[in-house]
């Protein structure tokens, strides 16, 4: 059966180092990280990736007050993606639009805020907000976007830990191919820096990055890496079936080539390189590609001592030494770990490579860990590639959820 081809026609994002694809890309090529100090409740000053978009560009003050940070990020990204796509959205049938938002978790921020608020009233629950439930339902980030945009088609989140950003795109592709919707707004978002719990959890796990210089804190593959920098962010795309996109003369960023999703079934938090390699191979098979057809591998590596090594083991198993045209990079070295947004944001940062043939580097590698010394790793400065026809994006998450998405240069 020949499936409809799916293409990316718009990108909307907010990252700790940029609020548009152009700004984000310029900073990835310019070596500009976006990590700063953030006061975290109960914990004090910690390193975090903070986004600085203007929520009031697309929301009323009341929407911001009533809604969640995750909702604001979704709305920003969705509106920016739609504007970028050039689609005549006002006239588009809203029941044929799907919103599929990947998120690592949702509700922790809002629950922590409410507990803190009632602590000022001796924990009397009559002071608990009536907004708690609409703010904490798992579909909140997608639902707020549907309210803002007037979308009456399916709008929900996909919970897949830090693999969720890719899952948003994958799920949207599937829904477009099934004919469930005609336009998908999809990707991933995260408001994680507003919950102390994620910082405290990683700290208890021994996986929270520390560094005296914020921009140097996130350092995948470096020998001195010491953990994750938690970040917020979002990236939503407009996806369409190729024939629809061509009919309206849309700009096409890339075509969805293939994907793989699987589960480790081995541990709550420890990655499993065997399953990761299987996921990558599954994606290659789905795309009908060989490893040597991939020109950029964007790694998931979060700068934990063990996790980076294990992903490198998986990549080595698939790409080995026989892929001289394959470059490998990492975006978290600039923006930290944007959790549910990671896969979608990191893909976006690499999309312009189809046009400029430049591969953004992994920064902050002062001394490469020999166990992470993959052939083709792009360290500290961008490199010009001979060709960039396919990008493979890895995103893995807790409870062993793995996702690999491959996009390719669009050729009519």
């Amino acid at each position: 059966m020949k499936l409809p081809r799916i293409v990316i026609t718009g990108v909307g994002l907010t990252a700790p180092n940029g609020n548009s694809l152009a700004e984000f890309r310029a900073n990835l090529l310019g070596g500009v990280a976006g990590i700063e100090w953030l006061d975290v409740r109960y914990m004090g000053r910690l390193l975090a990736g903070v986004c600085h978009f203007d929520a009031l560009k697309h929301q009323k003050k009341k929407e911001v007050r009533v809604g969640t940070r995750a909702g604001s990020i979704s709305i920003w990204c969705a509106r920016e993606a739609l504007a970028d796509s050039g689609i005549a959205f006002d006239a588009f049938p809203k029941d044929r639009v799907g919103i599929y938002v990947g998120c690592t978790e949702h509700g922790n921020v809002e629950t922590e805020n409410e507990i803190f608020a009632i602590s000022k009233f001796a924990y009397d629950t009559k002071y608990w907000s009536h907004y708690h439930n609409p703010r904490t339902v798992a579909n909140n980030p997608a639902g707020e976007a549907s309210l803002n945009l007037g979308v009456t088609g399916p709008a929900y989140t996909i919970g897949a830990a830090c693999a969720a950003g890719n899952l948003g795109l994958i799920h949207a592709s599937q829904m477009l191919r099934l004919g469930e919707v005609d336009l998908a707004i999809c990707g991933g978002i995260s408001e994680s820096i507003h919950t102390f719990g994620i910082f405290a959890g990683f700290k208890s796990q021994g996986a929270l990055a520390t560094h005296e210089t914020p921009s140097k804190a996130s350092r995948p593959f470096d020998k001195a890496r010491n953990g994750i920098v938690v970040s917020e962010g979002g990236c939503l795309y407009t996806l369409e079936r190729l024939e629809d996109a061509q009919k309206r003369g849309a700009k096409i960023y890339a075509e969805i080539a293939g994907y793989g999703v699987n589960s480790d079934a081995s541990d709550y938090v420890l990655p499993n390189p065997v399953r990761q390699a299987e996921c990558v191979r599954k994606a290659l098979a789905n795309a009908g590609m060989d490893a040597s057809d991939i020109h950029i591998v964007n790694t998931h590596a979060t700068a934990t001592p063990l996790g980076d090594i294990q992903e490198c083991e998986a990549i080595r198993a698939v790409f080995g030494e026989g892929c001289p045209d394959t470059h490998i990079n990492n975006t978290k070295s600039f923006i930290g770990h944007c959790m549910g947004a990671a896969g979608a944001l990191e893909l976006a940062g690499n999309l312009p490579s189809f046009d400029d043939l430049v591969v953004h580097p992994t920064i902050n590698v002062d001394e490469l860990d020999p166990l992470c010394a993959l052939p083709g790793l792009v360290l500290n400065t961008p490199v010009k590639a001979g060709k960039v026809d396919a990008i493979l994006n890895n995103s893995f998450g807790m409870l062993g959820i793995n996702s690999t998405l491959i996009v390719k240069r669009f050729v009519s």
Binding site: K62, V66, Y127, S129, H130
Partner: protein
């Protein structure tokens, strides 16, 4: 507290919960919902803020008493005054 003070206290709350609204010409005798974009959740906000800021309880059966500024003043001013008499 006078009824005018009471209306101001209510308007201060509305200014926070409906920050996009222009409150300069709110008519006291017209239902708030008929002149401002307020939904049922916003009215719950007014009830919550009266509780948090002023220690005033509005039982559910009395929610309709908050319909307009005039009805708010009529219903809430004695409550405000009863509280200040206690303190």
């Amino acid at each position: 507290m006078t009824t005018e003070d009471c209306k101001k206290a209510v308007l201060d709350i509305i200014a926070d919960i409906a920050p996009d609204e222009d409150l300069s010409n709110v008519k006291s005798d017209v239902r708030l919902r008929d002149q401002l974009q307020l939904d049922s959740m916003d009215f719950l906000d007014i009830v919550m803020e009266l509780r948090k800021r002023h220690g005033i309880e509005v039982p559910e059966a009395d929610y309709l008493r908050l319909a307009s500024l005039d009805s708010c003043a009529e219903y809430l001013t004695p409550k405000f005054n009863a509280l200040s008499a206690k303190s």
